[in-house]
Structure formats: C-alpha cells, structure tokens
C-alpha cells in the first residue's frame, strides 16, 4: 500500500464490541490493517471472545500509536463501539473521560450516557442493503468518518484486499453508506481526543 502522512498519536485505544457473528473481528482486522500498512502506524489488534461460534460476547481491541507499542490490550479506551446492549453495559466503564461512545441504536436501547454517537447499523444493513451481514462494514464507514487519522481511500483499499471478490462491491457500498450516514447524523463530534495524556 502507498504510505500516507500521519497525525502523531500516543496510544489511541479503540474497543470494538458486540455479539459473536456480527463481524467484530473482521472489522478489527480491516481497520488495523489499514492503519498499520496504509498509514504506517504501530497497531496491535487483540481479540477476546467466548467458545461459541455465534452469540456470546466478542471484542476486538486496537491500540494505535506513532511509537512502538508494548502492552497490546486496551486500558483506557478512547473510542468504544458497542454493537449490542450487553457489550455496551460491560465495557462502558472502561471508556476514559472524554472518550467517545458509538452505539448500534438498533440493538442498544438503554444508553448509559446522553453523550453518544448512534446509528441504527443493523436496520441500515437490512433496509438499505438487504444484507444484514454487511452491518460491520457500515460501522467501519462510520468509524472512518469519525477518526481524523484514517482516510477513506486507505480503509477502502484494506477492505478490498481482505474480502473475496464476490462480496467486494456490496461492502464498498456499505462503507460509503456508513460514512454518509455518519456525516449526516453525527453532529456533536469530539473536538479533543484524549490521546495525549496516557504515556507508553
């Protein structure tokens, strides 16, 4: 991939969480790959899930930094993406003060704060694409809009490199849909990400 200029980051932590089968791990891989190879950041992506193939909790953690990363797991989360109510309840406490919460409002009905970014990802996938499996790529589109250090072209490249040719077109559509919807609905964006205070 072509190298892109980067914004300095010191341990920016993202936690992607949801149910097994929602595509949380794939989402983490595509995002991590784009940031590591496309934007040349140091990235660690770790995973945590139960023994079930579907259902159960699934979580993918990314640490993104301009410097080498020692501890690979998340500690104080800058961006929490919760795709299910259970994940939102369980991980909200790990969000650092000033961190951003993005929820799937189709499934998360009780949101523990009124400062959040919400989109009905499951409904969007079903209604607009007719393909519930593409939900995670819509989330990826919204994340791309949110993160100032991730370029849409780079994410798109990573997406296309990861997925088999058969499902590429619909996923590119999903990525653009997520980005567009986020642009439309996310008005109260974080202006100051808390990435500077924690040291590595």
């Amino acid at each position: 991939m072509k190298k892109q200029p980067q914004i300095q980051l010191d341990r920016f932590e993202i936690c992607l969480s949801g149910l097994g089968g929602q595509g949380v791990q794939t989402l983490g891989k595509i995002l991590g790959q784009a940031l590591a190879l496309g934007h040349s950041y140091y990235v660690t992506q770790t995973q945590s899930y139960g023994p079930e193939a579907r259902g159960g909790a699934s979580r993918s953690d990314l640490v993104i930094s301009s410097h080498p990363i020692s501890y690979p797991k998340t500690d104080k989360i800058d961006l929490l993406v919760a795709l299910s109510q259970e994940a939102c309840n369980r991980y909200f406490g790990l969000l650092k003060p000033g961190g951003a919460l993005m929820v799937n409002t189709s499934l998360v009905k009780q949101i523990p704060t009124n400062r959040f970014l919400g989109l009905p990802f499951t409904d969007l996938a079903q209604d607009r694409l007719g393909l519930p499996q593409a939900m995670n790529t819509i989330v990826l589109g919204a994340i791309t809009f949110l993160l100032p250090f991730a370029k849409r072209t780079v994410i798109k490249k990573s997406l296309e490199e990861t997925l088999p040719a058969k499902i590429r077109p619909v996923n590119v559509k999903a990525l653009n849909l997520g980005h567009r919807e986020a642009e439309k609905r996310f008005t109260d964006l974080p202006t100051q990400w808390g990435g500077e205070e924690s040291g590595d």
Binding site: G28, K29, G32, Q33, A36, L37, Y42, V43, T44, Q45, T46, Q47, S48, Y49, G50, P51, S70, Y71, P72, K73, D75, G199, D200
Partner: protein
C-alpha cells in the same frame, strides 16, 4: 539465535499464529501433521493453505494429537523439517511421543499455544500454565529445549530459531506461546529467505558400513541421514547402544543418557536467550515471558518515570533455564518480580537458582485475563 542479517522483505499485518507459519516456511519446514484446537488452529489453517503450494510440502490432518506427533517423528526420520501445533489438551496427548522423539533424537518443532487449564479449561482465554509440562511432561530423564515469544515479529524469529535448535541439537523443541501472543495482529516484516541463517542436521561423511546412528561425537550430536539413503538405521524407544539396538549394559545406558544431556548442556551459551531491557543499573527486575513481558515492559517504563530503578529480563528460552542471565543481575539488583498467568511455574525456577541474592516476589493470575501493567507497577513501587 536467528537474526535477520539485513532489513528487507515484505510488510504484513498478521496474527502471531500467521507469523509462526511464515517463520516455519522460512526455516524450511516441509511437513505438518496436526489436529486443530483453539487457540492454535490458525497455525494449522495457515500451514494447510501454504504448504501444498511449496515444492515438496506435505500437510496432513491426523485423527488426533497422538497420531500427529507420530507422523511428525516419522517425517523427521525421513529427513524433513517437521512441525505440529496444538494447545493444552492436545499437548498432553503428545507427551508420550515427545519422549520417544527425545530418545531417538528426532529434530522437530512443537508449538503449544497455551490456554486456560487444566483439562478443557478455558479454550479462548490465555494462560501460561504448561511451562513445567513443556519441560517435564514426558516421563524419564530427558533434555529438551523450550522457547517462548512475546510479540508477533518474535513469533516469526523464534519459530526459525526453534527449527535451527532442533536441527543443530537433534532434539524436539517446544515453542510456548499464549493465546494473546497467537491472537494479536501486528505489522511485521517477513524477511527474505536468505536473510536468516538456516541450519540443517549434520549428514554422515563416512561410508554407510562405518556409520553408527547413535555414536559419540565431539558435540554429542551424531550425524543423521534420512531413512532410505543407504545408511543402516534402527530406532527404538528402548535404551539403545551406538548402533541403535536395545541394550542393558550399564556402561552403554549411562553413555547414551549422559550424551543426550551433554549435547544441550555444553551449549547453554548458544541456547539460553533473553532480552535485557534497562537492567544495567536496575535495583528491581521483572522476569517475564510471553505476552506478560509486554505488560512488564510498559510497567518498567512507567516505574522509571516515577524514579524507580526498574528493569526487565524477558526470557526467550525457558528451558534450559537461563540461570547466568539472572546471576549477572546480582551486584545491583536485590528484588526479582515474576508475573505469570499461572500459579507460579517459572517463579519456581527463579527461586531454584536463587541462592539468597534476591528477594523473589510473584504475581499470579489464573482467571483467563492478562496481567496488566498497573498490577506489575504496583509491585515495582512497593519497596
């Protein structure tokens, strides 16, 4: 240890398990037999997709882990670099054949991605509880090499090292990873094949009629031709004489067993690998391995910021235990901290070699969660 000679190669964003596959292929592995088990399955998947594409690669899914080890030993005798990967329950099944591999001195590599135990335990959670099993799991006095890796790039390098040690010392080598190391994705550089030193087992230089398969040599490692190359070869798990046939003679028994120990013992300087991070003036040193070493590295950096003279000794060879690396710390270091995801297995080794120079503090966690930097920092700051 295998070090890349120059910095070149392709960058990939890969799992620790995928790095093991890259390392194995670089080292010249051409045979894999295994049975899938979480969290090691990605290694098997990688070998299944990559090996058949190589010039002479063979991949076999066996009926269980016992058969997998048997197939790996057979391939090794036939002259191939062979490996398998598993996790705790499968590793237990492999133990008998690991002993056989030690006895007949078959070069091979076993990767054990540790998960919570005992028994089925916690299939998707990390642990480091197979450390003593890796050393002493099979019965009888035997010598074996146990290695470890803490990040994705190291997974690749240590896999190459594992193959090199196996070939050089004609012994099974166990690479112990944990779920976090195997399931962490990072950007790594896959070096070009010529950038590593790759070792191969010694071949006999004598004519076939003079060849004795278990003969004494200077290094203690007899040459090993592949079966079918014209050299008469007999292997047995029974205690054997230099020709490979069973013996009951006390002098031959002791010669065999002592040679099998000596071939590794006299090369401790080559085998015992550890990274020292800020240990030069450290008064308190964390001794860690695997993913916990990464937590320790952050904790040590944070402790230094707070004025604590802390250091980290990251073990890459677990057995033979790198005793001299610890002893070298003694003049300035008074306290050792051993964090590990078990009830205290490596700390036993640390305490064993400690002859009163150090106070040993342990941090143990067995709930399927990684030990956090904060937990280690707390102990580093308690003076």
């Amino acid at each position: 240890m295998a070090k890349p000679k120059k910095k070149s190669g392709r960058e990939i964003f890969a799992l620790g398990a995928e790095a093991v596959v890259e390392g194995a292929l670089l080292a010249g592995c051409s045979f894999y037999a295994g049975y899938p088990i979480t969290p090691s399955s990605e290694i098997m998947e990688g070998m299944a997709s990559r090996l058949p594409g190589t010039s002479d690669g063979v991949f076999v899914q066996m009926e269980d882990e016992i058969a997998s080890m048997g197939a790996v030993i057979g391939a090794s005798l036939a002259g191939r670099k062979a490996m398998t990967a598993t996790s705790g329950p499968g590793f237990s099944l492999m133990q008998e054949f690991i002993g056989y591999g030690c006895m007949i001195e078959a070069p091979l590599v076993i990767v054990n991605v540790m998960r919570g135990g005992p028994s089925t335990g916690l299939p998707t959670s990390p642990a480091q509880a197979d450390v003593q099993q890796a050393r002493w799991g099979t019965h009888g006095d035997h010598s074996v090499i146990v290695l470890s890796a803490s990040d994705v790039q190291e997974c690749l390098a240590m896999t190459v090292t594992a193959f090199n040690f196996a070939e050089r010392y004609r012994t099974p080598v166990i690479l112990l990873l944990d779920e976090i190391t195997a399931h962490t994705r990072e950007k790594i550089t896959v070096p070009t094949p010529d950038s590593f030193e790759i070792l191969y087992r010694l071949q006999p230089s004598m004519p076939p009629e003079w060849y004795k398969p278990f003969e004494e040599t200077v290094r203690g490692v007899p040459p090993m031709p592949p079966l079918g190359a014209g050299y008469r070869y007999h292997v047995t798990g029974l205690t054997h004489d230099p020709l490979g046939f069973p013996t009951q003679r006390p002098d031959e028994i002791v010669a065999l067993l002592e040679r099998q120990f000596r071939k590794i013992d006299q090369f401790f300087f080559d085998i015992q690998l550890a990274d020292e991070i800020e240990t030069a003036d450290a008064e308190i040193v964390v001794v860690a391995y695997g993913s916990v070493a990464r937590s320790a590295q952050l904790a040590v950096a944070q402790a230094r910021e707070k004025g604590v003279k802390a250091g980290l000794l990251k073990l890459k060879t677990l057995f033979p235990f790198p005793r001299t690396k610890l002893e070298r710390l003694a003049p300035h270091c008074k306290i050792l901290v051993v964090p590990e995801m078990n009830m205290g297995q490596m700390s036993r080794e640390v305490k064993r070699v400690n002859t009163g120079q150090f106070a040993v503090r342990t941090i143990n966690r067995v709930d399927g969660q990684i030990i956090t930097p904060a937990e280690i920092l707390k102990v580093l700051r308690r003076r």
